[in-house]
Point group: C2
Chain length 202, copies 2
DNA sequence: ATAATTAATGACCAATGGGTCAGCAAGCTT
DNA sequence: AAGCTTGCTGACCCATTGGTCATTAATTAT
């Protein structure tokens, strides 16, 4: 009956801890989350956590990276695979992708970035390199492609792909602040796409 | 030479403390700001601060209210005074107002709300009643007026005045996270106004 | 089996910071 | 000028929590 009191699972621990931390941060934010709480959720002692992550901040960075990386990969894959025209791509996969963001972990990342960015310049740099600049670059490329093949005219939008993301950001922030008060985020994002397309169509 | 070590200025203290707190919160955020730091900035002892504000949270709420109230008043006044047509109002005073927001204290308030909203439901309620719902209501009214007098057609925008604010929010968040990396927020907001107007014009 | 290795524990430490309060002194009253 | 009220101070308290480390026990090697 000697149930061992724990198992040694060196391989799995980091991810388990990271996932537990994400869940905790999502609920309470970074500062308000106690390291011990993360450990408890991961079914692990606080001491072990500090064996895998030097400080609470290191853990935080690892969490952001772990959430962000797969999502960016998803986006770039979608972009590369597709052979749709620019407008069709925007109305199809891009719209779907953007509409999923407000309800996804991305939303938590945004909240954490806004709260903690000023204290973590290296994390901002990472986020810029791996998410923002790549995403915006892809959008710019898409718009330029549309111009090149005559679908779109060249306009201010070419230099401001942030216009696509503005209603996504609005939806995310709305969700954080006014959790309950409903807003039709799908409609918001879709209408923006409609407007932009009407505005830039050749 | 008996310089008095302090003066009694019961009337001015609350505002002085509130202003010092705003400056401190703007730099470090709510949690990272120590009450003692606020007191120091206000040129006051920590004990006195607690004479005027029961807790750190009460101070926080007072700060938000003090920043938000005058700004809302400014907006509503502008709206009421103006006798411009809907489009002219949007391209004129409304655009100017929105373009000022990202560089204004409003930006700090947004950051604080995003970070602290989950812990301060009553503050969210206050913000909703006094800022969000009034601002959105005014925009809705403006759009309806435009429809009524034949300037605009009725469209999805009538139910989603958040579309106007989306690039403002984007600019604010951008400024918080990527402080240095520049974004032409004026252009972003102006282009959005152009797009919306093109989209809804009768 | 026995020894060696190291994943894992949890009691503990030290610093931080919100909040208190006994006492001091500015400035008013008489 | 003496006394009184109260705005104001700053030393202090103590709960919280990030981080450490001596110890334990699961696993592997011999």
């Amino acid at each position: 009956m000697g149930q061992p009191r724990y198992q040694r699972r060196k391989e799995d621990r980091p991810q388990e801890i990271t996932e537990a931390a994400f869940a905790a941060f999502a609920e309470k934010g970074f500062t308000a989350t106690k390291v011990e709480e993360v450990a408890r959720r991961a079914g692990v002692s606080k001491g072990l956590l500090y064996l895998y992550f030097k400080t609470k901040e290191e853990l935080f960075k690892a969490v952001i990276r772990s959430v962000v990386t797969p999502r960016v990969d998803e986006l770039t894959r979608t972009l590369e695979r597709s052979e749709l025209g620019a407008e069709a791509f925007i109305r199809g996969p891009l719209l779907a992708f953007m509409q999923r963001l407000p309800g996804s972990p991305a939303s938590v990342v945004v909240r954490l970035m806004i709260s903690e960015a000023p204290k973590h310049p290296d994390l901002v740099e990472y986020y810029w390199q791996n998410v923002a600049s790549r995403g915006l670059g892809a959008l710019r490329q898409l718009l330029d492609r549309g111009v090149a093949n005559g679908e779109f005219r060249r306009s201010a939008v070419n230099d401001l792909p942030q216009l696509f993301l503005a209603p996504v950001m609005m939806s995310i922030v709305w969700g954080i602040v006014f959790a309950d008060r409903s807003l039709d985020t799908d409609k918001l994002i879709e209408t923006q796409a409609d407007m932009i397309l009407a505005y830039i169509k050749a």
